[in-house]
């Protein structure tokens, strides 16, 4: 005979308490080592499954797309259209390869890294959550990547490693609302500011810029590299697109765009650097 749960409210209360406890312990650090370890193991274990399924699903998707395309081709002119498609494909492939080559070549000579060592990585996914601006990359602990290491692109800072497993890592982009980067701007030695993310696809904002600071559009904010900072000094972060001071504001309201094109990332470099380095 089917069972009947007699105390659903008690069950709910216990589950809510358990969830809140997990969240609190994780946030306060008591459980973070455990949860990040479990996440890392899950990511490692799931990685081959993901690759296998992708290998199966992608050809099916291509086949379906090809079938749809085939119908349209036959309605017009099969032969001519096929040629056009082929030319288009070649052109797209060339452009695609050229873009990949451009990004890879640029990563080989990042002037701002100086002597810092880095590991090139391919971007495998753009964000597993709609509530955070992150990317997944195909390097992990086995490549020397550790938590909180900076990640750069050909234009400048991309973000920071926030989750790392054996062969993969998750990078929080500088546009994420949780991101805050200590920066310098203006003529040397430069003034200090904090560049904050305000959400995916939105411009960055800068804190600690005094009111009426003369900022020009296009001025670049670079990482400050202060003692204990999360990033080494001198990495371009973002460029000013607008600034103004309100009548009663004590700070300049500054809007910036990332130096790296975060919407078209394919390859990045993880800088093998930590705050203690």
């Amino acid at each position: 005979m089917p069972r009947r749960s007699r105390r659903p409210r008690t069950t709910l209360l216990l589950l809510v308490l358990a969830a809140v406890t997990i969240i609190t312990l994780d946030a306060r650090g008591g459980l973070h080592v455990v949860t990040s370890g479990v996440r890392s193991v899950a990511s490692d274990a799931f990685s081959p499954v993901r690759s296998g399924v992708n290998a199966v699903v992608e050809p099916i998707g291509s086949f379906l797309a090809g079938s749809i395309h085939y119908g349209a081709v036959r309605e017009q002119n099969q032969k001519l259209q096929a040629e056009i498609d082929q030319l288009k494909m070649q052109s797209a492939e060339s452009a695609d390869q050229a873009e990949a080559l451009r990004q890879l070549s640029a990563l080989l000579r990042l002037p701002y890294l100086n002597t810092l060592q880095s590991v090139p990585a391919q971007v495998t996914d753009f964000g597993t959550s709609d509530f955070a601006a992150t990317i997944d990359i195909n390097v992990g602990r086995s490549d020397g990547v550790q938590l909180w290491m900076p990640v750069v692109g050909n234009g400048g800072l991309v973000g920071q490693v926030v989750k790392v497993s054996h062969h993969t890592a998750t990078v929080r982009l500088i546009t994420d609302g949780q991101s805050a980067v200590g920066t310098r701007y203006g003529p040397p030695p430069g003034s200090l500011a904090v560049v904050n993310g305000t959400g995916p696809g939105k411009p960055l904002s800068a804190d600690l810029v005094p009111s009426n600071t003369p900022l020009t559009n296009g001025e670049v904010f670079v990482t400050s590299g202060l003692q204990g900072a999360l990033f080494p000094a001198g990495i371009p972060v973002a460029r000013v697109v607008s600034s103004h001071t309100g009548d009663t504001a004590s700070q300049e309201s500054v809007s910036l765009v990332p130096e790296s094109d975060l919407n078209h990332l394919r390859y990045v470099s993880v800088v093998l650097w930590g705050p203690s380095a």
Binding site: M1, P2, R3, R4, S5, R7, P8, T11, L12, L15, V16, A18, A19, V20, T21, I22, I23, D26, A27, L31, T35, V38, R39, A42, S43, F46, V49, R50, V53, N54, V57, D125, F126, G127, T128, S129, D130, F131, A132, T134, V162, K163, T170, R172, D176, G177, Q178, G197, T198, G199, P200, G201, K202
Partner: protein, 178 residues
């Protein structure tokens, strides 16, 4: 819960995780990807009632949290609340009605996403409200409404001993929606 049921439900959750982490992550509708993991507590709530909906929502939420960059435990918290709420809201309804699952998925997914953003914000992640929440709600709700019926069949298969909470006594022997 029997061993067989645990095995079947684990398989169902695994299938959902695989689809979410492969196919769904590649599907982007105006920058938002669907989230079929939200369907699990919803259909579990319909099939098993408030307590089992909450328990299943908690468990599947913890699994989701393994793959998300957001606070660990947040999906579990919202999942158990949602499973309970759906179970409670549908307790007096005919659970075999074909429209119930899509409708519950539509409303439940919207509720989940809003609660997820709001609770995340309260729990120290204010950026979780600085996203295109309306777009996320629409994309996730509509895709889940479309996929609700197959999800219902899968979870029904997994929950062989579904509870009869709130069901009329005459239906108790029949079990939940299959």
């Amino acid at each position: 819960m029997t061993r067989g049921e645990v095995a079947r439900l684990s398989l169902v959750v695994f299938i959902f995780v695989v689809i979410q982490e492969t196919v769904m992550l590649d599907v982007r509708i105006r920058g938002v990807h669907p989230d079929i993991m939200v369907l699990l507590p919803i259909v579990a709530g319909i099939i098993g009632g408030p307590a089992r909906g909450a328990t299943f929502g908690f468990a599947t939420g913890l699994v989701s949290d393994l793959f998300l960059p957001t606070p660990f435990g947040l999906s579990a918290l919202v999942g158990c609340l949602l499973g309970f709420a759906v179970g409670l809201a549908t307790i007096a309804l005919d659970r075999t009605a074909w429209w119930l699952a899509p409708l519950a998925a539509l409303g439940g997914s919207a509720l989940y996403e809003v609660t997820y953003g709001a609770l995340g914000s309260i729990l120290g992640q204010p950026q979780m409200l600085h996203v295109a929440l309306a777009r996320i709600v629409v994309v996730v709700s509509v895709t889940n409404a479309v996929l609700a019926i197959p999800a219902m069949r899968l979870v029904s298969w997994g929950m062989a001993d579904a509870s009869t909470e709130g069901m009329p006594t005459s239906d108790a022997g029949v079990g939940a929606a299959r």
